[in-house]
Amino acid sequence: MNFETIIGLEVHAQLLTKSKMFCRCRADYASAPPNTHVCPVCLGMPGVLPVINRQAVEYTIMTALALNCIIPEYAKFDRKNYPYPDLVKGYQISQYDTPFGRDGWLTIEINGTKKKMGITRVHLEEDVAKLLHRKSADGEVYSLVDVNRSGVPLMEIVGEPDLRSSEEARQYLVKLRTILQYLGVSTGNMEEGSFRCDANISIRPEDNPESMAKVEVKNMNSFKAVYQAMDYEAKRQRQAVAEGWKLVQETRGWVEEQGKTVAQRSKEYAHDYRYFPEPDLPPLTVGREWVAEIKARLPELPEDRRDRFVAEYGLPLYDASLLTGSRTMADYFEECTQTGAYWKLPPDTAAKEVSNWLLGEASRIMNASGIDVSQFRQKINPGELSGLILSAHGVINTATAKSVLGEMFHTGKEAGEIIVRRGLSQISDTRQLEEVVIEVINSNAQPVADFKSGKETALKFLVGQVMKATRGQANPALANEILKKRLTEG
C-alpha cells in the first residue's frame, strides 16, 4: 500500500528582548554564570506578580504579521499547570485559546513549485529554568537548577500538518528561521537552543482520509536532525505497518548518535494542563492602530528582497534566492555594493561578480571552518572583499585571488598587503613575458609541433606551462597572445 507522510512542526523561538517576559532581568543569559540573571519574580518567590513585556508582545505580533496571520483584537494569558523542578511557579504563563496571531501561512519552494504551508497560531509564553544533570564522584546522580533561562520570552509557532516530506519540513524550518532573523526577533540558533523544533508525524494510506496514529518527535537539535528524524520516522512507520504492527500515539526522542528515534518513557502524570486565564494579568486589547503601526515597521522580508535583488542588481533568480536566504548574507552583499571598489568594477558584471565570490569562495571558507556570515564578516568586511574582487581585475588572476582570500581570512590582513608581500602582482610586462614564452617554446618541442599541425588544444597546454614557470603570476590573456604570435610567426 502507498502512504503519504504528514508532518506538522511546532517551533519555539526565544525572543531577542532586552528583559525577560515578566520581570526586568536581562533576557540574554548566554554568557552569564548560573543563577545571576534572576529576581524574585523569575525565581517564583511567594507573593511576586508578573508584568507583561511590551516588546515581546510586539515581536510576536510582528512575526504573526510576517506569517500572514490574523491578529485578533482580544488576547489574554493563561496558566498551564504541571509540576516539574524547572518550572519555578508550578505553572507556565502561556496563551491557551487567544494567541496573538492565528491562521497564517508561509511559502516554500519544492522543485520550483511554490507551496503554501499553514500556520495554526503564533503565541507568547515564558521559558523555563534549565536543569543540569550531574554525577558526583561517588556515583550519586543529582540535578542543578539554573534559573537564568526562567522567564525568557518564548514565542511558539504551531504549523498546520501541511508538510509531506522531510525535505518540506527542512525547507519550512529554514524559511521560518530566515523570517525570524529578517525581523530581528530571534537569533534562530538551533544548536544553542534559542530556536527549537518538535514535530508531529504520521502516515496516511492513499485511499483513506484518516491518517494513522500521530507520533510526536522531540530532541532534534539541528536542521539536519529534523530532516533525518523525519526521514527515519516516515520509513519506520511504513515498515511497522508493513510488518503488521499497529502504530500507537506516542512521544519519541531523536537519538543523534544512533540515527534513530526511540519511544520516550511515558510521563509520570497524565497530561491535563488545567489551563485557566491568568488572573494576575488583565486581558489585552490589541488595538488596530497598534497593529497598523507594527505592520508599517516590518522590515523587507526574504521574498521581497530576493525579487528586488533580481530587479535592482540584475542577478539571476538563483543567486538572489541564495543571497537572501539569510539576512546577514543579503546585508553583506548590499554592503559590498556600497563600497568604492565596487564602483570601479565593470557595471554590467559587478553585482554578479560579488555574488559569485560570496556564494563561491567565501561560502566555501565559511563551510570549511564552520562559521556563519557574521563571524566571516569579523575577519573580512565587505570593503575588504570588494577590494580583493577589484584586484582580480588585472592585478592578480582569479586563482591567485582565491588564495589571497584564504590568507586574508586566516591572517586578517588586507588583500593589497598580501599581494605586495607575496609579490603576486600579475606579470603584464610584455618583454618579461616574452622571455618566458621563448623558454617554454624551446623546451616543449612536441606540443609546439602539434599546434603547428593544427592542434588548437596544444596552445592551452603551452599557456599552462607559462603560468607554471611564473608561479601563476603571468597574465593568462597576455601569455596566450604572445604565444600565438610567436608560434604563428616563427
Binding site: 518567590m45 511567594p46 507573593g47 508584568v51 509540576p83 508550578g90
Partner: protein, 461 residues
C-alpha cells in the same frame, strides 16, 4: 511608645496568641530612627514611629514570613511587599507578623499550623479569620493598627468578631505585590484599625498604583481623611434582604436593625427592601474560583527552592511528600477542589460557569449602585463562635463568610465597623460601596462611629 506596645504584647500574648513573630529589636531600632527624624524636625507623616503588625502573608525582607504554614515556617523573604515598602517609607515601626489561617484559608485562625489565636473579648472563642491575628492584636491593644488581607471576608469578618474597624479596598486599589497569593482575582490588602480615622490614615499610606502589579489600577488616590465629615444627610442606603440569612440569631438581627435605624436617624435615606437575588450563588462561585486559583498559586511549594523540603530518595517522592506533610488539611482540601474544578471535562461546568455567575453578581451590584450610594449588611451572620465549634464542619465554617464573599467576587470596597454587642460578644456592620468609593463608605462609617462610640469599648484583658 514602641516599648509600651512590646510590653503589652508580652503581657497579653500568652492568652491571645495573635503574633507569630515579634520583631522587637528591629522595632526598637526603627522607633529610635523615627524619634531622631521627628526631633530633627524632618518631614514626619502621621504614621511615623507608630507601631504596626503585619499579617504573616505579606513579604518582609529579612523577617520570616510563614503564611501560617509549616511549609514556610522558616521562610525568610528576600524582598519587601509594596505595602511594606510604603509603610517603611512612612516611618512605621514593625512590631511583628500576625497569626492567620494557613495561606489565608479559613474563618477562625484555627487553621494556622503554628497555633490558634483567641478572641480578646472571650478567650474561649475564635477571633475570626483569616486575619484573626491582626484583628485580635488590634482589639487587645497589642498594636496601634495592623494590615490584613481579604479574599472572601478575611479582614472584615475578624474585624467584626473583634470589634475593630476593617476595610477591604476596591480590587486594584492597593498593590498585591509581595502578598503571598491565595486567590489572585479576589485578594486585597487592607487596614485593621481601632477607629475610622486610623483607617483613613493607613489607606493614605498604602493605596495607589504600583507598576509591579498589573492588576493595580492607575487611580489618583485622594486624601481619605478629608472624607471624614460626620454628615450623611441624603445619602441613599440600601439594605439587601438576602444578607439577613436564615438562622441568623435574633440578637444579631436586632443589633443590625438598631444600627441601620441609627444611620436613618443621622439623615440617610434607607431603603429596607432591596433584593440582590444572586447573593446566595456567591458562596458557590467563591468556592470554585478561589480554590481554582489557589491550586495554581500554591503549586510552587514543592520543596525544591525554599521552605519546607522533605528528604526522599527520588525527586518525585520528595516533591509529593513535601506537599503531603507541608500543607494542612484545609489547604489540601482547597487544592483538591480547585484541581478538580479545572480538570479536563469539568472546566466548563465549574470554572467557566462560576465566571459567568460572577459576571451576573457584578452586574447585579452595578444596578444596585445606580440607586444607592452604599449597601448596609451585617458583616457576619453570627457572633464569634467557640474554638473548635466548626473545625470539623467545613461547610458551616465556609458559610461564616456569606455576607462578605459577594463583595470580593464583585471587586467592591467594604468596611466592617463595630456595631454593638450581643451577650457581650461583638457584632460588625458592613458598608459596601461601588468601586473606588472608599471615601463614601469611610464617611458613613465615621458618622456612625461618632454617633455610637462602640469603638471606644475595649475588652478586659
Amino acid at each position: 511608645m514602641t516599648r509600651a506596645y512590646l510590653e503589652r504584647i508580652s503581657r497579653v500574648e500568652p492568652e491571645v496568641r495573635a503574633i507569630i513573630t515579634v520583631t522587637d529589636e528591629l522595632a526598637l531600632k526603627r522607633a529610635q530612627k523615627a524619634d531622631k527624624l521627628i526631633a530633627s524636625g524632618g518631614d514626619a507623616g502621621p504614621l511615623i514611629g507608630i507601631p504596626v503588625l503585619i499579617k504573616d502573608v505579606m513579604c518582609t525582607k529579612g523577617v520570616r514570613t510563614t503564611c501560617g504554614s509549616k511549609m514556610l515556617e522558616n521562610f525568610v523573604p528576600i524582598y519587601d511587599a509594596t505595602v511594606v515598602e510604603k509603610l517603611n517609607d512612612s516611618g512605621a515601626v514593625l512590631l511583628g507578623k500576625a497569626n492567620m489561617d494557613e495561606f489565608a484559608m479559613g474563618s477562625s485562625t484555627e487553621n494556622s499550623s503554628l497555633f490558634p489565636t483567641h478572641n480578646p473579648w472571650d478567650l474561649s472563642r475564635v477571633p475570626g479569620g483569616s486575619s484573626g491575628g491582626s484583628a485580635a492584636a488590634v482589639a487587645a491593644g497589642e498594636t496601634v493598627y495592623a494590615l490584613g488581607s481579604d479574599t472572601g471576608g478575611s479582614i472584615r469578618q475578624p474585624a467584626g468578631f473583634c470589634s475593630v474597624v476593617g476595610l477591604k479596598p476596591t480590587y486594584g486599589l492597593v498593590s498585591r505585590y509581595g502578598l503571598v497569593a491565595f486567590a489572585s482575582s479576589l485578594d486585597q490588602i487592607g487596614p485593621l484599625t481601632q477607629d475610622v480615622i486610623d483607617c483613613a490614615l493607613v489607606m493614605n499610606a498604602i493605596a495607589g498604583y504600583d507598576r509591579r502589579d498589573a492588576t493595580s489600577v492607575p487611580y489618583d488616590t485622594p486624601d481619605y481623611t478629608r472624607s471624614l465629615v460626620a454628615d450623611i444627610k441624603g445619602l441613599r442606603l440600601g439594605i439587601p434582604r438576602e444578607y439577613f440569612v436564615v438562622g441568623m440569631p435574633a440578637g444579631v438581627a436586632r443589633a443590625m436593625k438598631t444600627a441601620i435605624s441609627k444611620l436613618e436617624e443621622l439623615g440617610a435615606e434607607v431603603d429596607w427592601e432591596v433584593s440582590l437575588p444572586h447573593t446566595p450563588c456567591a458562596l458557590a462561585v467563591y468556592y470554585i474560583i478561589a480554590p481554582s486559583e489557589a491550586s495554581a498559586n500554591l503549586a510552587r511549594y514543592d520543596g525544591v527552592k525554599y521552605g519546607f523540603s522533605y528528604q526522599a530518595e527520588s525527586m518525585w517522592e520528595a516533591m509529593e511528600k513535601t506537599r503531603e506533610s507541608g500543607f494542612g488539611a484545609e489547604v489540601k482540601r482547597r487544592i483538591m477542589l480547585g484541581t478538580y474544578a479545572l480538570s479536563a471535562g469539568y472546566y466548563d461546568a465549574y470554572y467557566l460557569k462560576a465566571q459567568k455567575v460572577r459576571t451576573l453578581i457584578r452586574r447585579e451590584f452595578g444596578r444596585a449602585f445606580e440607586k444607592y450610594d452604599a449597601l448596609i449588611t451585617p458583616t457576619s451572620p453570627t457572633v464569634p463562635f467557640k474554638v473548635g465549634e466548626k473545625v470539623d464542619d467545613p461547610l458551616q465554617m465556609y458559610s461564616s463568610d456569606v455576607c462578605t464573599m459577594p463583595v470580593n467576587i464583585a471587586g467592591l470596597p467594604a468596611i466592617s465597623i463595630p456595631a454593638g454587642f450581643v451577650d457581650g460578644l461583638p457584632v460588625g456592620l458592613q458598608i459596601i460601596g461601588k468601586p473606588f468609593s472608599e471615601e463614601t463608605i469611610l464617611k458613613i462609617a465615621y458618622a456612625y462611629e461618632q454617633a455610637t462610640g462602640w469603638h471606644k469599648r475595649k475588652p478586659n484583658i
